[in-house]
Subunit: 379 residues, 2 copies
């Protein structure tokens, strides 16, 4: 299969796979796609280890990393002296304590913010310009072929380093305006992400967004993200004018994914109606499974509402880590609360498979969709 | 161009056009598509006249009608003796009066519910089972080739009459479950409508919904609706497995559309971020232009919230008719309030064109998208 994006990025298939899990990244790259590791899950030292592992697995085949660079975050995160946990108000801590009590997480043990983890300041600052640039510094010591940034334009320092290293910058966008801004800031690949996508996402659907972004940034190539988890959707993305696709959700139920088993089961059972775009996990709108966590934060009268990024992220990830453990231990209340970033395609995921099989099935269905379309024009 | 759906419905292109305007219906049918008239805008007598006009224009070429059959409506609408306007509470009338005063509609003349129009009871009952069946009775006296029903399964009486007349029933759905239910109730064509669509719409995007519906109802053919206003989107819909497309928004800015000029200008200026799914116009979630009308109903602390269908529809359409007139007269406040059902593709509409040109441009772009895709598989 010959595509422009394939030639440019050295891959067999125009299929990019975003994952926080190194095994997924390596498996997709080895199957002929392009794996992209979400770096924000790691400290610089951890990231270095993960990338070294990937390097050993992929034998020079192409892969990339993804960082989060929000345009706006809580001011405290920009102050190296600030202790971020001190900036989480009492009312927000109390609300999480209330949820722990109401859903009997840890069999009624009380929630304390200390249990978020000792490295909160480092974790919270991975999404600042300097934190994300630090992750990119580590990544550039590895043979990466792409740096992707989500949420906002990368800082000039990051772009300069990428350019100096000859590594193209990709940017995830949810509007035409942001796509233009990212290209002006040096992005060489745009990922146009529809509202149906998992994680941080805008309001415009993939079907509507992609052709507009393609026209706005031509000749810069565009990948379609959001709503792509099978080969027909891949063919649709290319019909819209995208040069390839960027998928995240579909890998979450693979053999290789480190998704907790209780979350995997929720995903396999979910329909496409079971996601919600909510600020309750990071402070910015992100699509995830509907759960008691999202419903309580978004609708309960006593909810204090989400904090700005990265404070909500610290509070939520700290709490959800404990909730996840309790859910794995079979606690019913914790199972109600537990959730995960995932797109509307979750309704299509009903079987655990190896990544390689997902890639090959997508490509086979893609190819047969193109054949089917070809018969229309030849008739 | 040869497609299964084209052969079955006697059209050159797999392109169905929904419109409340007879001129659009006739123009699309005459250009090789399939026009569908929204009957709910008309009394039985008016509908008869509109269809007779279409019959004279299309010379036997195929067209259809569309009715609204909500699963749940206000109980009063089912009681032939009830005066529907009496069921609109004081607090809702007062809120509209407040909006008229705040936005100085009619230069400050007060709003009275009487001005909704004398035929409120007849208008409100067009969306009941018996009202919609009455419209279908009229339509079946014309050579229609399709009856489409939106919102819920058609009553058995309507299905029986359609079947007896040999006219296939189509149903608009926003979930897989509803698609299955409609096929069980006798639908021979499913219109799977994504959240990005204008008017009454669900939460799942076209990209995600269409392949799932196609798989769930096979071999019943599926049209994709929502997010389709150009030929690349048409190609994407067919890539997803749809047999054709159903478009509504794209006709609103055509020469033939009776869209008020102030609304047409709003649409031409709007981006894809300028729509909202709101209950403020009919009582059920419907995508429309964001305007002061939607924002006040959905967000103002003094908003009483929408009434059930058809009461909200009567209140809103009555008020918006007056607001529209005032907006056409150049009143600034009325211009802020005025809106229209339209999908996210509104961001693509930037020029007024004849329907025929829209059809031909879509088909040309569709064909070139298929050619582009064909080059991938041949490489």
């Amino acid at each position: 299969m010959r595509t422009e994006i394939g030639d440019r990025f050295g891959v067999e298939f125009p299929l990019f796979a975003f994952s926080h899990c190194r095994d997924v990244v390596a498996a997709v790259t080895n199957a002929g796609g392009f794996g992209v590791l979400g770096a924000v899950a790691y400290s610089p030292e951890q990231l270095d280890r993960e990338l070294s592992w990937i390097d050993r697995q992929v034998g020079g085949r192409p892969y990339g990393v993804d960082v989060l660079v929000p345009g706006q975050i809580d001011r405290a995160a920009g102050d190296p002296a600030a202790r971020l946990l001190d900036h989480i108000p009492e009312v927000h801590r109390d609300f999480v304590s209330h949820l722990f009590a109401k859903y009997r997480v840890g069999k009624g043990k009380s929630f304390t913010l200390g249990s978020v983890g000792g490295h909160a300041d480092e974790v919270g600052r991975r999404v600042t310009h300097s934190g994300a640039t630090g992750l990119v510094d580590v990544a550039l010591r590895h043979p990466i072929r792409l740096i992707a940034s989500a949420l906002g334009p990368p800082p000039a320092e990051m772009s300069d380093k990428a350019r100096a290293a000859g590594v193209p910058l990709a940017a995830l966008v949810g509007t035409v305006e942001h796509a233009r801004r990212q290209v002006a800031a040096g992005a060489e690949l745009i990922v146009a992400q529809g509202t149906e996508a998992g994680g941080h996402t805008g309001e415009v659907s993939t079907m509507v967004l992609v052709p507009q972004v393609v026209d706005a940034v031509a000749p810069v190539p565009v990948l379609a993200a959001g709503g792509v988890a099978n080969g027909r959707q891949m063919a649709a993305a290319l019909a819209l004018g995208a040069s390839g696709v960027w998928c995240g959700s579909v890998w979450l139920t693979t053999d290789e994914a480190e998704t907790p088993s209780v979350v995997k089961r929720k995903m396999l059972a979910a329909t496409s109606l079971d996601t919600v775009r909510s600020r309750s996990r990071t402070g910015k709108p992100a699509r995830q499974l509907v759960s008691a966590w999202t419903t309580e934060w978004d609708e309960a009268p006593e909810s204090p509402g989400p904090l700005p990024m990265p404070l909500q992220m610290l509070l939520a990830e700290g709490a959800l880590a404990r909730i996840g453990d309790a859910a794995e231990n079979g606690e019913a209340g914790a199972r109600e609360l537990v959730n995960s970033f995932v797109g509307q395609v979750v309704g299509q995921l009903d079987q655990v498979k190896p990544c390689r099989q997902v890639v090959y099935e997508m490509v086979a269905e893609f190819s047969s969709a193109l054949d089917r379309l070809g018969r229309i024009t030849r008739s």
